[in-house]
Subunit: 156 residues, 2 copies
Protein backbone atom coordinates (compact mmCIF):
# COMPACT_ATOMS: atom_id res chain seq x y z
CA UNK A 1 0.00 0.00 0.00
CA UNK A 2 2.82 2.38 0.89
CA UNK A 3 4.41 1.61 -2.45
CA UNK A 4 1.15 2.27 -4.26
CA UNK A 5 0.57 5.65 -2.55
CA UNK A 6 4.08 6.93 -3.22
CA UNK A 7 4.06 5.70 -6.81
CA UNK A 8 0.61 7.24 -7.36
CA UNK A 9 2.04 10.67 -6.43
CA UNK A 10 4.88 10.16 -8.91
CA UNK A 11 2.30 9.07 -11.51
CA UNK A 12 0.19 12.18 -10.98
CA UNK A 13 3.27 14.40 -11.20
CA UNK A 14 4.45 12.77 -14.44
CA UNK A 15 0.98 13.00 -16.01
CA UNK A 16 0.77 16.69 -15.11
CA UNK A 17 4.23 17.31 -16.54
CA UNK A 18 3.31 15.44 -19.76
CA UNK A 19 0.18 17.59 -20.20
CA UNK A 20 2.22 20.79 -19.74
CA UNK A 21 4.87 19.71 -22.29
CA UNK A 22 2.17 18.64 -24.75
CA UNK A 23 0.16 21.87 -24.43
CA UNK A 24 3.35 23.90 -24.97
CA UNK A 25 4.34 21.73 -27.97
CA UNK A 26 0.89 22.00 -29.57
CA UNK A 27 0.51 25.77 -29.06
CA UNK A 28 4.02 26.36 -30.38
CA UNK A 29 3.48 24.49 -33.64
CA UNK A 30 -0.11 25.66 -34.25
CA UNK A 31 0.92 29.32 -33.91
CA UNK A 32 4.02 28.74 -36.08
CA UNK A 33 3.28 30.99 -39.05
CA UNK A 34 5.94 32.42 -41.36
CA UNK A 35 4.51 34.16 -44.44
CA UNK A 36 1.69 31.80 -45.52
CA UNK A 37 3.80 28.85 -44.45
CA UNK A 38 1.97 27.06 -41.66
CA UNK A 39 2.08 23.69 -39.86
CA UNK A 40 -0.74 22.48 -42.13
CA UNK A 41 1.63 22.61 -45.10
CA UNK A 42 3.87 19.95 -43.56
CA UNK A 43 2.24 16.51 -43.13
CA UNK A 44 4.63 15.54 -40.34
CA UNK A 45 3.72 18.68 -38.38
CA UNK A 46 0.02 17.86 -38.69
CA UNK A 47 0.91 14.48 -37.20
CA UNK A 48 2.83 16.22 -34.37
CA UNK A 49 -0.34 18.19 -33.55
CA UNK A 50 -2.50 15.03 -33.74
CA UNK A 51 -0.26 13.05 -31.37
CA UNK A 52 -0.05 16.03 -29.00
CA UNK A 53 -3.86 16.25 -28.79
CA UNK A 54 -4.16 12.49 -28.19
CA UNK A 55 -1.53 12.72 -25.43
CA UNK A 56 -3.28 15.67 -23.73
CA UNK A 57 -6.71 13.95 -23.88
CA UNK A 58 -5.37 10.65 -22.55
CA UNK A 59 -3.37 12.06 -19.65
CA UNK A 60 -6.16 14.47 -18.75
CA UNK A 61 -8.71 11.62 -18.63
CA UNK A 62 -6.32 9.57 -16.49
CA UNK A 63 -5.85 12.45 -14.05
CA UNK A 64 -9.64 12.92 -13.75
CA UNK A 65 -10.38 9.20 -13.45
CA UNK A 66 -7.60 9.00 -10.86
CA UNK A 67 -9.18 11.74 -8.76
CA UNK A 68 -12.70 10.32 -9.00
CA UNK A 69 -12.28 6.57 -8.95
CA UNK A 70 -9.04 5.89 -7.17
CA UNK A 71 -8.57 8.62 -4.59
CA UNK A 72 -12.20 9.23 -3.58
CA UNK A 73 -13.44 5.65 -3.83
CA UNK A 74 -10.12 4.10 -2.84
CA UNK A 75 -10.48 1.82 -5.85
CA UNK A 76 -7.38 0.20 -7.26
CA UNK A 77 -8.84 -2.63 -9.29
CA UNK A 78 -7.05 -5.01 -11.64
CA UNK A 79 -9.16 -3.74 -14.53
CA UNK A 80 -7.97 -0.19 -13.92
CA UNK A 81 -4.36 -1.36 -13.81
CA UNK A 82 -4.81 -3.15 -17.14
CA UNK A 83 -6.35 -0.05 -18.75
CA UNK A 84 -3.45 2.03 -17.42
CA UNK A 85 -0.85 -0.48 -18.65
CA UNK A 86 -2.17 -0.67 -22.22
CA UNK A 87 -3.06 3.04 -22.31
CA UNK A 88 0.39 4.20 -21.19
CA UNK A 89 2.03 1.77 -23.60
CA UNK A 90 -0.04 2.85 -26.61
CA UNK A 91 0.18 6.58 -25.88
CA UNK A 92 3.93 6.47 -25.24
CA UNK A 93 4.41 4.78 -28.65
CA UNK A 94 2.19 7.40 -30.29
CA UNK A 95 4.16 10.27 -28.72
CA UNK A 96 7.47 8.63 -29.75
CA UNK A 97 6.30 8.47 -33.37
CA UNK A 98 5.07 12.10 -33.25
CA UNK A 99 8.42 13.36 -31.98
CA UNK A 100 10.33 11.25 -34.53
CA UNK A 101 8.21 12.46 -37.47
CA UNK A 102 8.66 16.07 -36.28
CA UNK A 103 12.44 15.77 -35.94
CA UNK A 104 12.85 13.87 -39.22
CA UNK A 105 10.78 16.26 -41.33
CA UNK A 106 12.45 19.31 -39.76
CA UNK A 107 15.92 17.98 -40.45
CA UNK A 108 15.21 16.98 -44.07
CA UNK A 109 13.17 20.06 -45.03
CA UNK A 110 15.68 22.47 -43.43
CA UNK A 111 18.33 21.11 -45.81
CA UNK A 112 16.36 22.27 -48.85
CA UNK A 113 17.63 25.75 -49.64
CA UNK A 114 14.55 27.22 -51.33
CA UNK A 115 12.33 26.44 -48.33
CA UNK A 116 14.61 28.49 -46.11
CA UNK A 117 14.48 31.64 -48.18
CA UNK A 118 12.99 34.86 -46.76
CA UNK A 119 13.19 34.04 -43.06
CA UNK A 120 11.47 30.68 -43.28
CA UNK A 121 14.23 28.91 -41.37
CA UNK A 122 12.59 30.32 -38.22
CA UNK A 123 9.54 28.24 -39.10
CA UNK A 124 11.54 25.02 -38.90
CA UNK A 125 13.33 26.08 -35.70
CA UNK A 126 9.95 26.36 -33.98
CA UNK A 127 8.98 22.99 -35.46
CA UNK A 128 12.15 21.58 -33.92
CA UNK A 129 11.32 23.09 -30.49
CA UNK A 130 7.81 21.64 -30.70
CA UNK A 131 9.16 18.16 -31.50
CA UNK A 132 11.59 18.51 -28.57
CA UNK A 133 8.73 19.28 -26.14
CA UNK A 134 6.82 16.30 -27.55
CA UNK A 135 9.91 14.16 -26.91
CA UNK A 136 10.04 15.35 -23.27
CA UNK A 137 6.36 14.40 -22.88
CA UNK A 138 7.23 11.01 -24.40
CA UNK A 139 9.97 10.50 -21.78
CA UNK A 140 7.45 11.17 -18.96
CA UNK A 141 4.93 8.75 -20.53
CA UNK A 142 7.63 6.10 -21.06
CA UNK A 143 8.43 6.26 -17.31
CA UNK A 144 4.67 6.00 -16.59
CA UNK A 145 4.58 2.95 -18.85
CA UNK A 146 7.41 1.31 -16.86
CA UNK A 147 5.56 2.05 -13.59
CA UNK A 148 2.28 0.61 -14.90
CA UNK A 149 4.14 -2.49 -16.13
CA UNK A 150 5.35 -3.12 -12.57
CA UNK A 151 1.79 -2.57 -11.27
CA UNK A 152 0.41 -5.14 -13.72
CA UNK A 153 -1.61 -7.91 -12.04
CA UNK A 154 0.15 -11.28 -12.42
CA UNK A 155 -1.47 -13.87 -14.65
CA UNK A 156 0.66 -16.95 -14.10
CA UNK B 1 6.25 -23.57 -16.16
CA UNK B 2 3.85 -24.58 -18.93
CA UNK B 3 3.07 -20.91 -19.46
CA UNK B 4 6.74 -20.06 -19.69
CA UNK B 5 7.49 -22.78 -22.26
CA UNK B 6 4.59 -21.84 -24.54
CA UNK B 7 5.27 -18.12 -24.28
CA UNK B 8 8.98 -18.72 -24.95
CA UNK B 9 8.08 -20.33 -28.29
CA UNK B 10 5.93 -17.33 -29.19
CA UNK B 11 8.83 -15.08 -28.14
CA UNK B 12 11.30 -16.92 -30.35
CA UNK B 13 8.88 -16.80 -33.30
CA UNK B 14 8.29 -13.04 -32.89
CA UNK B 15 12.03 -12.33 -32.59
CA UNK B 16 12.73 -14.34 -35.75
CA UNK B 17 9.95 -12.51 -37.59
CA UNK B 18 11.31 -9.13 -36.41
CA UNK B 19 14.78 -9.97 -37.69
CA UNK B 20 13.36 -10.97 -41.10
CA UNK B 21 11.33 -7.76 -41.43
CA UNK B 22 14.31 -5.67 -40.32
CA UNK B 23 16.76 -7.33 -42.72
CA UNK B 24 14.28 -6.81 -45.60
CA UNK B 25 13.72 -3.17 -44.58
CA UNK B 26 17.44 -2.44 -44.32
CA UNK B 27 18.41 -4.14 -47.60
CA UNK B 28 15.55 -2.38 -49.44
CA UNK B 29 16.56 1.12 -48.34
CA UNK B 30 20.34 0.61 -48.65
CA UNK B 31 19.99 -0.61 -52.25
CA UNK B 32 17.54 2.20 -53.07
CA UNK B 33 19.44 4.13 -55.72
CA UNK B 34 17.84 6.35 -58.35
CA UNK B 35 20.33 8.39 -60.34
CA UNK B 36 22.81 9.58 -57.69
CA UNK B 37 19.98 9.92 -55.21
CA UNK B 38 20.60 7.51 -52.34
CA UNK B 39 19.37 6.89 -48.80
CA UNK B 40 22.38 8.82 -47.47
CA UNK B 41 20.94 12.01 -48.96
CA UNK B 42 17.91 11.82 -46.68
CA UNK B 43 18.66 12.15 -42.95
CA UNK B 44 15.48 10.31 -41.98
CA UNK B 45 16.44 7.35 -44.18
CA UNK B 46 19.84 7.17 -42.51
CA UNK B 47 17.95 6.99 -39.23
CA UNK B 48 15.75 4.19 -40.64
CA UNK B 49 18.91 2.20 -41.44
CA UNK B 50 20.36 2.92 -37.98
CA UNK B 51 17.25 1.74 -36.12
CA UNK B 52 17.02 -1.33 -38.38
CA UNK B 53 20.59 -2.34 -37.53
CA UNK B 54 19.98 -1.81 -33.78
CA UNK B 55 16.82 -3.95 -34.01
CA UNK B 56 18.62 -6.77 -35.87
CA UNK B 57 21.54 -6.78 -33.41
CA UNK B 58 19.28 -6.75 -30.34
CA UNK B 59 16.89 -9.50 -31.47
CA UNK B 60 19.78 -11.61 -32.75
CA UNK B 61 21.60 -11.36 -29.40
CA UNK B 62 18.37 -12.26 -27.58
CA UNK B 63 17.87 -15.33 -29.78
CA UNK B 64 21.45 -16.48 -29.15
CA UNK B 65 21.34 -15.80 -25.41
CA UNK B 66 18.01 -17.61 -25.32
CA UNK B 67 19.50 -20.70 -26.91
CA UNK B 68 22.60 -20.73 -24.73
CA UNK B 69 21.46 -19.54 -21.33
CA UNK B 70 17.79 -20.37 -21.14
CA UNK B 71 17.26 -23.54 -23.14
CA UNK B 72 20.54 -25.34 -22.49
CA UNK B 73 21.08 -24.25 -18.90
CA UNK B 74 17.37 -24.05 -18.09
CA UNK B 75 18.07 -20.62 -16.64
CA UNK B 76 15.15 -18.23 -16.32
CA UNK B 77 16.50 -15.77 -13.77
CA UNK B 78 14.93 -12.50 -12.61
CA UNK B 79 17.96 -10.60 -13.96
CA UNK B 80 17.35 -12.03 -17.42
CA UNK B 81 13.67 -11.05 -17.26
CA UNK B 82 14.62 -7.49 -16.30
CA UNK B 83 17.11 -7.23 -19.18
CA UNK B 84 14.43 -8.54 -21.55
CA UNK B 85 11.80 -6.12 -20.20
CA UNK B 86 13.95 -2.99 -20.57
CA UNK B 87 15.55 -4.21 -23.81
CA UNK B 88 12.22 -4.94 -25.52
CA UNK B 89 10.82 -1.63 -24.30
CA UNK B 90 13.77 0.44 -25.50
CA UNK B 91 14.13 -1.33 -28.86
CA UNK B 92 10.38 -1.15 -29.59
CA UNK B 93 10.50 2.64 -28.98
CA UNK B 94 13.55 2.93 -31.24
CA UNK B 95 11.83 0.98 -34.04
CA UNK B 96 8.65 3.09 -33.65
CA UNK B 97 10.69 6.29 -34.09
CA UNK B 98 12.53 4.82 -37.11
CA UNK B 99 9.27 3.91 -38.86
CA UNK B 100 7.72 7.31 -38.03
CA UNK B 101 10.73 9.26 -39.32
CA UNK B 102 10.71 7.15 -42.51
CA UNK B 103 6.98 7.66 -43.15
CA UNK B 104 7.08 11.38 -42.29
CA UNK B 105 10.06 12.21 -44.50
CA UNK B 106 8.68 10.15 -47.40
CA UNK B 107 5.31 11.88 -47.24
CA UNK B 108 6.74 15.43 -47.02
CA UNK B 109 9.53 14.96 -49.60
CA UNK B 110 7.21 13.25 -52.10
CA UNK B 111 5.07 16.41 -52.12
CA UNK B 112 7.95 18.49 -53.45
CA UNK B 113 7.65 18.41 -57.22
CA UNK B 114 11.27 18.96 -58.21
CA UNK B 115 12.45 15.98 -56.14
CA UNK B 116 10.14 13.72 -58.10
CA UNK B 117 11.42 14.68 -61.53
CA UNK B 118 13.08 12.07 -63.79
CA UNK B 119 11.72 8.93 -62.15
CA UNK B 120 12.76 9.78 -58.62
CA UNK B 121 9.32 9.08 -57.21
CA UNK B 122 10.28 5.39 -57.30
CA UNK B 123 13.02 6.25 -54.80
CA UNK B 124 10.44 7.43 -52.27
CA UNK B 125 8.10 4.49 -52.91
CA UNK B 126 10.92 2.14 -51.87
CA UNK B 127 11.54 4.37 -48.83
CA UNK B 128 7.87 3.95 -47.98
CA UNK B 129 8.05 0.14 -48.31
CA UNK B 130 11.15 0.08 -46.10
CA UNK B 131 9.38 2.15 -43.40
CA UNK B 132 6.38 -0.21 -43.62
CA UNK B 133 8.60 -3.26 -43.00
CA UNK B 134 10.19 -1.42 -40.07
CA UNK B 135 6.68 -0.76 -38.73
CA UNK B 136 5.84 -4.50 -38.96
CA UNK B 137 9.02 -5.29 -37.01
CA UNK B 138 7.94 -2.66 -34.47
CA UNK B 139 4.56 -4.43 -34.04
CA UNK B 140 6.34 -7.75 -33.31
CA UNK B 141 8.64 -6.05 -30.79
CA UNK B 142 5.71 -4.22 -29.16
CA UNK B 143 4.00 -7.60 -28.58
CA UNK B 144 7.32 -8.93 -27.18
CA UNK B 145 7.40 -5.91 -24.87
CA UNK B 146 3.88 -6.71 -23.59
CA UNK B 147 4.90 -10.34 -22.97
CA UNK B 148 8.07 -9.33 -21.11
CA UNK B 149 6.02 -6.88 -19.01
CA UNK B 150 3.83 -9.76 -17.86
CA UNK B 151 6.94 -11.84 -17.12
CA UNK B 152 8.41 -9.05 -14.97
CA UNK B 153 9.33 -10.17 -11.43
CA UNK B 154 7.13 -8.43 -8.88
CA UNK B 155 8.74 -5.89 -6.60
CA UNK B 156 5.98 -5.08 -4.12
Amino acid sequence: MAFWVSSSKVTLFLRGLSVLFLIASTILIITDDKGNFRYKDVSSYKYVVGTGVIGIAYNFLQIISFAIFRMLMNNDSDVYRLIEFYGDKAVSYILATGAAAGFGATKDLKKLQFLNADGKSGFFNIGYASALLLFLAFLCTAILSILSSYALPKKV
